[in-house]
Structure formats: C-alpha cells, structure tokens
C-alpha cells in the first residue's frame, strides 16, 4: 500500500491547480439554456484545449487526444472538486452517448457528434424508459417500422431528463417485432425538432422544472433515416448496456464535501441558543455518517487501484451506487433534522438555510436511488452477478 502519487503526478496536479486559479469562472459556469449556454461552451472548449475535459478522446473526434490515465482523471476530479467547479459537464450526452459512440459508432457518427457534444453545443437526452417498461426495460414497446431507407417511430418515452432543452435524443426502439425480447431493439439517434415529437414536462416531487427538468416524450409517425442506427439493427440492447454501465459509473458522487457542508451547518445552527454540534444525539449521527462517507471514499481508492492493476474487483465493484445514493439521502436527512422546524422550509423562504440546498439534495438523492436502475435492481445485480445466487425463475406463461 502506497498512497503517494509520485513526482510526475504531483507536477500534473500543480498544472491543474494553476489552470483553475487562472481560469475558474467566478460564478456558475453557465447553464444549458439561453445566454448562459454561450458561456458554458466557451468554458468547456477551454477545458478541452488544455486537456481537462474530453482528455482521452482522439483529436480527430474533437478531444484532447491523451492516453487514458486513471490517476490523471482522479487528480483532475479532486482538484476541480476542491475548486468547487464541475469538471466538464454532467450530461447524458457526455457521460453516456459519447462512450457508446466511441465503442460502437461509425467514424462518421463519431466525427459529427462527439466534438459538439463535449463542447456543450449539442445537448442530448436519453429515450429509454417507457410508462410500461421501467426496471424491465427490455420489454419496451416504442416501435420503428421500416419504410424505404427510413424508420417510422411511434410510441412514448418517460423520465426523460432535459428533453425540453435538448437538440438530440438517443433512443431505444423495437425494430424487429418478431425477434425475441432482447434481440429486437435498435439504438437510434434523432433530432428533437423532427416532426411528430412532442415533449410534455413532468413536474418532479422537488417541484424542479429548471436545468434538471423531467419530461415525457411522445412520438407520432416520426421519420428517421436508417443510417442513424448506432451499431447494427437489433443490437440495441447490448449497446445500451454499455451505456448503462457508463451511467452507473457516473452516478457515484462523492459525499466528502457534503459532510463538510453539514458540519459547518451544525456549527452555525442553534436551538434554544445551543449549537446543533453541541447535541450528543446529532453529533453521534454525524459521526456515523462520517464513517460511512470515509468508507466509501477509501473504497473508491481501492476500486481505482483494481482498475490500475487490471484486477477484477468482483462484487466489491458492484456496490458503489447502492451505498452512495443511500448515504447521500441520509446525510440530507440529518441536515434537515438539525434545523428543527425550520428544516421544513422550501422554495426560497426567508429563513431557508444554504439556499434550500438540503431539501433539494434530499429529493435529488432519492431520485438517484430510483434512477439508473433502482436500488432493488442493483441488489439483484449484486446478488446474482456478484454472489452467484440463482436468477428468479420466470413465471410459467399462461
């Protein structure tokens, strides 16, 4: 065991720090709508030029073209985290579509989409879930019927984050209705302004209709060229599974900063003149959460080491999403409790603390417990793939 990174990496860390000191945006680096979009594109392009975003994507596809190096990635994440700015952009285009195109796309698809996606010029949403197909995603019914060189799409997608602000969608549709469930699905790219697409916003429990908007998307006789299929027709399920893997990796948010924010809150908040931190009950809960957070932090270091050594992390590599999402939800619960009755405040009330962060964080964490494969689906994966427990027998067809 050796937790030193070595001189070469410490030099790299200094470079990242110098870059951030010089270029870090004073306020939020921009959003995906309106005038903020321009600032976002500038900020992402600068990061790509300096190699802090799209770092390992080949130059010909709009990336920086460096060799993959996990420790560099870890260091960049640590330094951006410390500086309090996101590295690149958390979006389904960057985190899910781009890795999928790199693995399965044609050169033409890569050249056309990867650069603009990483620069934030093109926003994507993900059309997977349907009202009748959630955990059982492969049962999806949205159909794409062949019509000359095109497909005609009919159906409905749901839980579609940022559909109202996206230029493009990557979607799973059933192209081979007579094939078995998993073998009849294709992965298709199409513009959101195609005739026949209608987006309806879906208000979440957090009331949020901002950058994290949630939607339903309806498809009525939507025409798309067959050339927009990624990979081969009928292979969409396999291709989507590589994407889902990327999604689960991207949902592993680090709770260390949230614990620190909670500590500051507990030092400030007073009830009857006594700070929350002086309450043995609250302090005990804080220490429990801190231990869980540290365990996840060190676990991430262990998983990075497994990757560096090309070792199979086994079941230990499957548990991160399940544990981190629950931990984040529990951290916000303590924060809400230490504020007493004022912990209930929401929607920018005068006495709200940390600008309403904790209630939002609580809703958001609950969403992540469900999204990207529910906690229950995670437990099926952990027990079946990780522990080798038998699959549940399928009910006999009636």
């Amino acid at each position: 065991m050796d937790l030193e990174y070595g001189q070469r990496y410490e030099d790299f860390r200094r470079e990242v720090r110098t870059f951030l000191d010089k270029h870090k945006p004073k306020d939020s680096p921009g959003g995906i709508s309106g005038i903020r979009r321009k600032k976002l594109v500038e900020w992402l392009s600068l990061q790509i030029d300096e190699g802090y975003w799209a770092r390992t994507i080949p130059k010909e596809f709009g990336g920086y073209g460096a060799e993959p190096n996990l420790l560099e990635t870890v260091i960049m994440d640590e330094e951006f985290n410390r500086a309090g700015v996101p590295r690149g952009m958390a979006s389904q285009g960057a985190s899910m579509l781009v890795p999928t195109l790199l693995e399965h796309g044609t050169d033409e698809q890569r050249q056309r989409w990867i650069g603009p996606t990483m620069r934030g010029e093109v926003m994507w949403c993900q059309g997977y879930s349907e009202p009748g197909s959630g955990s059982d995603l492969a049962s999806l019914q949205t159909s794409a019927k062949e019509d000359g060189d095109d497909f005609i799409i009919n159906g409905q997608k749901i839980w579609t984050s940022t559909a109202d602000k996206s230029e493009m969608i990557f979607i799973l549709v059933r192209t081979e209705p007579d094939a078995p469930k998993h073998g009849g699905i294709s992965y298709i790219l199409l513009p959101m302004d195609t005739q026949g697409i209608e987006v309806q916003p879906l208000r979440t429990m957090s009331g949020d209709l901002g950058d994290n908007s949630f939607n339903q998307v309806f498809f009525t006789d939507v025409r798309v060229p067959q050339a927009n299929v990624v990979g081969k027709r009928g292979e969409g399920w396999r291709i989507a599974n590589t994407t889902l893997k990327h999604e689960r990796n991207s949902l592993n948010s680090n709770s260390e900063g949230t614990i620190l924010k909670l500590m500051r809150l507990m030092e400030r908040e007073t009830t009857n003149g006594v700070p929350a931190m002086a309450s043995p009950v609250f302090r005990d809960r804080l220490m429990k959460l801190q231990a869980r957070s540290l365990a996840m932090k060190f676990h991430a270091m262990r998983m990075v080491t497994c990757s560096l050594k090309n070792e199979n992390s086994g079941v230990a590599g499957l548990i991160t999403k399940l544990r981190n999402c629950q931990l984040n939800f529990d951290i916000s619960a303590l924060a809400i409790d230490v504020m007493g009755e004022l912990g209930a405040l929401y929607e920018h009330t005068e006495y709200e603390r940390d600008r309403g962060y904790w209630q939002s964080h609580s809703f958001f964490s609950l969403g992540l417990i469900i999204g990207g494969g529910t906690a229950q689906i995670q437990k099926n994966i952990i027990s079946e793939r990780g522990l080798g427990l038998p699959r549940e027998p399928k009910p006999a067809k009636s």
Binding site: M1, M277, M287, K309, V315, I382, L389
Partner: protein
C-alpha cells in the same frame, strides 16, 4: 498510488486461512469452549511458528517487523475462523506498547511473544471506561485495586496493566496478591476476566506514558475491527452458501428476491468497511496523525454493520441458525462481543468527535 494488498500480504492471508481451516476448524473451536479458557497455548505456538505472533516485533527479537496492516490481515483471518487466541492483545497491543518503551526486560518479552513461549494478557479497560468501582492505584511501588474485562488473562504468563490513563505496569500472571476470575460472556471463543490486586509487586512500572497507551488502544481497536470484519465475511459466505443449497417451495431460497436482497445488503456494507479497515491500518504506520480518528471510525463502523450482518446472516439460515447444533452462532457471538470491547460504538464516535474538536473532551 496503490490502495491494495501486496503479493506478500495476500500470501500471508492465504497461508493463515488455510492453516486455520485445517488445524482449527469449527469442530475444534466447539471442543475448546469446554476448557477452562478457550485460548489454547498450542494454537498460540503454531501461530508463532507461522510467524503470526511476531508480525509487529523487531527482527532482532525474532519478529518480522511488518506493519499494522499485515497484523490486521492476520486478525481478520483469525476472526474469519473464530479462533480462540490472544492475537489482538498479545500480538498487537502489547508489542505496540512495549516497542515504544525502554527497559532491559522488554526485548526478552518480545522475543517470547515472537517464539510463542510467552503470551500476554491486557487490562486496559479503565483507560476509557470505569465501572463497578474499578481502578488500580500505586502505593509504595505496589499495585492494588480492580480491573474489569481484562483480555486473555487465563492462559497468559504476563499481564500488561494500565494504571489510570497515564501509567502502565507489567505483572506476572501468577504474582502473589493477584486474584483472577473469568467473566463469562456470550462468546465462548474469547477470554475475559476480572482482576483483583492486593499489594501486587509489579515487574516494572512505566510512568507518564499516556501517548503510548493511546497508540496501543488505536492499534487494538483497528485489529479488533479486522477480527469482526473477518467474522462478518465468514457469516456472509455461510449465508450465501446455505441459500444455494436450501430448498423451500420447490426452489433454492437464494432465488427469492427477499433472500437475495438480504445477501446484497450484507455484502454491500462489508466491502466498503474492508476498505475503511485497510485505510485505518495503513494510517497507523504511514499517516499517524490520522490514526486516532480512523481507529475510532473503523471499530465503530464495523461494529454497526457487524450487528446487522450477524443478525441477517443468521436469519438466512432460518430456525437451524438459532440452534446450538448449527455453528453459525459462534460468529454471531464473536461479532457481538467484539462490539462491546475496547470502547463500543457510542463511546468511539464521541471520541471521534473530540479528536476533530467537535465535542469538548473529558
């Protein structure tokens, strides 16, 4: 950056696990619970022959002078097979303390631990928790008073004893004036005792060694966390194996989501806890400023997840898991008593808060 085990460490673990599976299987543990003290000296000597008792002892005293992480891998393997042996006390806490102290007798004692000729017990509970009027006082060089929940005394040759939280003494286990009474716990694989001292002449007293005592407690807490972690690991393996062979409703019970999810919950708690224990053990040698906090968190956290794992793994076995005839209760009790020793989670968390300046100490 390498947050993982070396080839040597993996080999140490593999060697000890296969030795214990072969020489101290659960049937042997079951027999040992009928002895006056389960800490069998033959097992201690065999562990010495494997080099396990000398992991933290300098080479000139016959040890291998390795790190706490190595000792924790051994402790974890011992917990995995619920082996009765004074490892945490005699092979971890005592060498950690004695190495920081100076006296002509020390190198002989350390050599004796490394060779398996000497086993120590320890009585340090009163440094963090005084109950039943316990406490040891010095009067004209002699020791009198009471110590509760002393570890591994019955089969020991020598005892390392705390006097308040600032002084240490070594006494002979057969010293005149020392009365030892075994305190029976639920865990038949461990030895705990009450000591009554009436004018006991010590071999030696070390005065004003509070820092050494604190460091010894840190090492002990991390190694005890590793012991419980190993026991948790074994319980999950047994539950998973049982659910792959037990049938109900014409199905393996492991194919029911209810049972699967119990197993997934257990393993998803165990693996990050393993990472925490590794880090805590590593910090003890490489990042000593962090070690006191990590020791508290490691033992408290493993105790919390252990409570759940011990219960759920037993439940997966159904009714047979609640019988004495089935073996799973040995692990349940090892984890349960491990939770009570060297502080307990509530005390450890309060200590963790104090260390960070979040609570007033004392």
């Amino acid at each position: 950056m390498d947050f993982g085990l070396s080839e040597d460490q993996l080999m140490l673990e593999e060697t000890l696990r296969s030795f214990l599976a072969d020489r101290v299987p659960i049937g042997r543990v079951r027999d040992l619970r009928n002895d006056d003290c389960p800490n069998n000296r033959e097992i201690w000597r065999s562990l010495a022959e494997l080099g396990m008792t000398g992991i933290l002892i300098p080479e000139e005293c016959g040890g291998s002078d390795l790190n706490l992480l190595d000792a924790c891998l051994a402790s974890q393997s011992i917990g995995y097979s619920v082996t009765p042996t004074p490892f945490v006390s005699s092979a971890v806490m005592v060498p950690t303390a004695l190495r920081e102290l100076e006296h002509p007798l020390i190198s002989g004692w350390l050599a004796g631990i490394a060779s398996g000729d000497i086993a120590f017990g320890i009585a340090v509970t009163e440094t963090f928790s005084i109950r039943e009027g316990a406490g040891i006082a010095i009067d004209q060089g002699e020791l009198s008073g009471k110590a509760m929940m002393a570890l591994d005394i019955c089969s020991a040759d020598l005892i390392l004893l705390a006097i308040g939280s600032e002084h240490l003494a070594v006494i002979r286990a057969d010293a005149p004036g020392l009365k030892k009474a075994r305190l029976i716990t639920t865990d038949a694989t461990r030895c705990t005792s009450e000591l009554i001292l009436e004018s006991v002449a010590p071999e030696i007293i070390f005065e004003d060694v509070g820092k050494t005592i604190a460091r010894m407690l840190d090492a002990g807490r991390i190694a005890l966390a590793a012991d419980s972690l190993g026991a948790c690991e074994a319980m999950i393996e047994q539950a998973v194996a049982y659910s792959k062979q037990r049938k109900q409703f014409d199905r393996l019970i492991g194919s029911f989501q209810a049972v699967k999810h119990m197993c997934a919950e257990m393993i998803s708690e165990l693996e990050p806890a393993r990472s925490l224990v590794w880090y805590a053990a590593h910090s003890f040698d490489a990042l000593p400023d962090e070690a006191p906090l990590m020791a508290c968190h490691a033992l408290a956290h493993v105790s919390e997840i252990g409570h759940e794992i011990a219960s759920v793994a037993t439940q997966v076995h159904g009714g047979i898991g609640w019988t004495d005839e089935h073996n799973v209760h040995f692990w349940f009790k090892r984890i349960g008593v491990g939770r009570s020793l060297l502080g307990g989670p509530g005390l450890l968390r309060e200590r963790a808060a104090e260390i960070q300046g979040l609570a007033k100490s004392g």
